[in-house]
């Protein structure tokens, strides 16, 4: 491409500069503030929580004024690290169940004639665009005592009394898998669709049974899709708030909910920030995995 000069060249820079500055201001800068806030003391300070960064000449005093109290609390109080572990566990279970449901679905979608695939794809995406809140609300109606599930199960004579699933871990898992399933299916479908079917024919010609061909050809080739889908489900699931709040009970305390209540109920902004900082560190490894999976598939997530 020709490199322009003069005003045209400068306008070319604007294409990069405008979104770049927007993201620096509204995405990166806020994280710096969260980090700073996490080292503030809620008891003695009021928003916006001094000390402010005065420049590099006062770097020493700035660091001395940092308060590690919030992080000490996160380590000492069992509520916090237990809810981190619990969030990781729920997110991992969600990812596994979504994979178990999503893989056959994506595989079947990639196997139907091509003219149907576009329509099936829209059908998978459609629930993703309806709000989380609505999808979770739908499950409240199904899972609550004397809800739809109870009516159906007692009607069929499977159970005689209500299952009481709402406000349990099972309800949270159902809601999570339901809400995040499209994130798993889409990258899996993209990978499986691009898979070279002639490889499978070659395996069959050489006498491999269908199952062996699947295990030795299809499965290894779909690993990038599995990784991308798992990361897309796992990362937001760890910090999920709405689902554990509405479908969960007192014993399903996930870290997103802890952050929410530290912020909105306890009004402890520094502690909420510390919770967010630790959560980000927990997510660094899966984020790196996602980036690698994306690079392996050529850039577009």
């Amino acid at each position: 491409m020709k490199t322009g000069n003069g005003p045209a060249h400068r306008r070319g820079h604007l294409v990069v500069a405008v979104p770049y500055l927007w993201l620096l201001l509204f995405f990166l800068a806020p994280f710096a503030i969260v980090l700073r806030m996490a080292f503030s003391d809620a008891a003695t300070d009021l928003p916006p929580y001094a000390p402010h960064f005065q420049g590099f000449s006062q770097l020493g005093e700035f660091i001395a004024a940092l308060d590690l109290e919030n992080f000490r609390l996160l380590g000492d109080d069992a509520l916090y690290w237990q809810s981190y572990l619990y969030s990781l566990r729920i997110a991992a279970l969600t990812t596994l169940i979504a994979l178990a449901i999503g893989y056959p679905l994506a595989y079947a979608m990639a196997s139907v004639p091509r003219r149907w695939q576009g329509m099936l794809l829209v059908l998978v995406i459609l629930p993703f665009w309806t709000s989380f809140l609505i999808r979770v609300y739908a499950w409240i109606g199904i899972l609550r005592p004397e809800g739809l599930l109870d009516i159906v199960l007692t009607g069929m004579g499977v159970t005689s009394e209500p299952l009481r699933l709402l406000n349990t871990e099972a309800a949270v898992l159902i809601g999570m898998v339901y809400s995040y399933l499209p994130f798993m299916v889409l990258p899996l479908f993209a990978t499986l669709q691009k898979l070279d079917r002639s490889l499978l024919e070659a395996a069959a010609d050489l006498g491999a049974p269908a199952l062996t061909a699947f295990a030795t050809v299809t499965l290894p080739l779909s690993i990038p899709g599995i990784l991308a889908g798992s990361a897309l489900v796992f990362i937001p699931a760890v910090g999920e708030f709405v689902i554990p709040d509405l479908l969960g009970g007192p014993d399903t305390v996930m870290i997103g909910k802890v952050l929410w209540s530290e912020f909105f109920s306890n009004r402890d902004w520094p502690l909420a920030s510390a919770v967010a900082v630790v959560l980000l560190f927990v997510l660094v490894a899966p984020l790196a995995l996602l980036q690698r999976a994306r690079l392996a598939r050529g850039g577009v997530a």
Binding site: Y20, M37, I142, G147, P236
Partner: protein
């Protein structure tokens, strides 16, 4: 592939049943004459009438629509610029950071995005309300818009742009007369997706809003916490219908675009 086995058909049916039955049940009960979810009292549009008389909910809906309109427009402009930057400007300085910042909000837990933006607004001593939520929504849907436009730019015949440049068109004129007409279906789809994302968001809006700016999801959330009611079902049904129309329109646009581009 020639034939679908029974296993694959089962996977399709079970998968789509799981995705759609809860939504269909929710829609069905919005037409239930009885207030009790356990009793089917016959078909009725009573709850839609009740909804139309619910002033706070209607105000919140109108606010959400205006907000989604502005934030989707901002997100589409910024996302298109970001896509052009990533697809056309090669290896500029800070490219890795840039693409990371574009894509990170796609998976970032909403509580973190919401909290961090709120702290920014508080530090800058900006009065919170409509505009702070708009900025927050534009920021997190920018990445979605960028991906949609980027995928169109990737399958794009660059020799057309080069021809325009060789004939003396400036980059700006080339963009308006060659690039934009070719990518506009993707730009329109990006706008629609950003619009529905904004319309649906509860968590980020809750953090970044101020007094007097209560969005529809925030109203619904407080109603849902109080329990199930057919009126909420009716509100949800209208939202599902609106989103379905937008998504189908967007996918038709993209499909026509793909056919034209192929």
């Amino acid at each position: 592939m020639k034939r679908l086995g029974p296993g694959l058909i089962m996977a399709l049916v079970a998968g789509f049943a799981f995705l759609y039955l809860p939504i269909l049940a929710l829609i069905a009960y919005s037409f239930n004459a009885s207030r009790l979810v356990t009793v089917w009292g016959g078909f009725s549009t009573h709850w839609y009438g009740a909804l139309m008389a619910n002033e706070p909910l209607l105000d919140a809906a109108w606010l959400s629509i205006r907000l989604a309109f502005v934030s989707a427009t901002a997100a589409t402009v910024l996302g298109t610029l970001a896509a052009l930057a990533l697809a056309r400007h090669g290896a500029f300085r800070g490219r890795t950071l840039f693409s990371g910042m574009v894509l990170a909000p796609l998976v970032m837990p909403e509580v973190i995005t919401g909290l961090s933006l709120l702290l920014l607004f508080v530090s800058a001593q900006v009065e919170r309300g409509f505009w702070t939520v708009t900025i927050a929504h534009a920021t997190f849907s920018l990445g979605f818009a960028c991906i949609v436009v980027q995928s169109r730019l990737a399958g794009f015949d660059r020799s057309l742009e080069e021809a325009a440049r060789d004939l003396g068109a400036t980059p700006v004129i080339t963009f308006w007369t060659v690039t934009l007409p070719l990518i506009w279906p993707a730009v329109a789809a990006a706008w629609m997706l950003a619009f529905t994302l904004s319309l649906d968001d509860l968590v980020i809006a809750s953090f970044t809003t101020g007094p007097g700016a209560t969005t529809l999801p925030m109203r619904l959330y407080s109603a849902v916490r109080l329990g199930v009611s057919p009126e909420i079902n009716a509100a949800c049904t209208i939202m599902i219908g609106a989103v379905a129309l937008v998504v189908i329109a967007a996918s038709l646009l993209l499909k026509r675009d793909q056919l034209a581009g192929a």
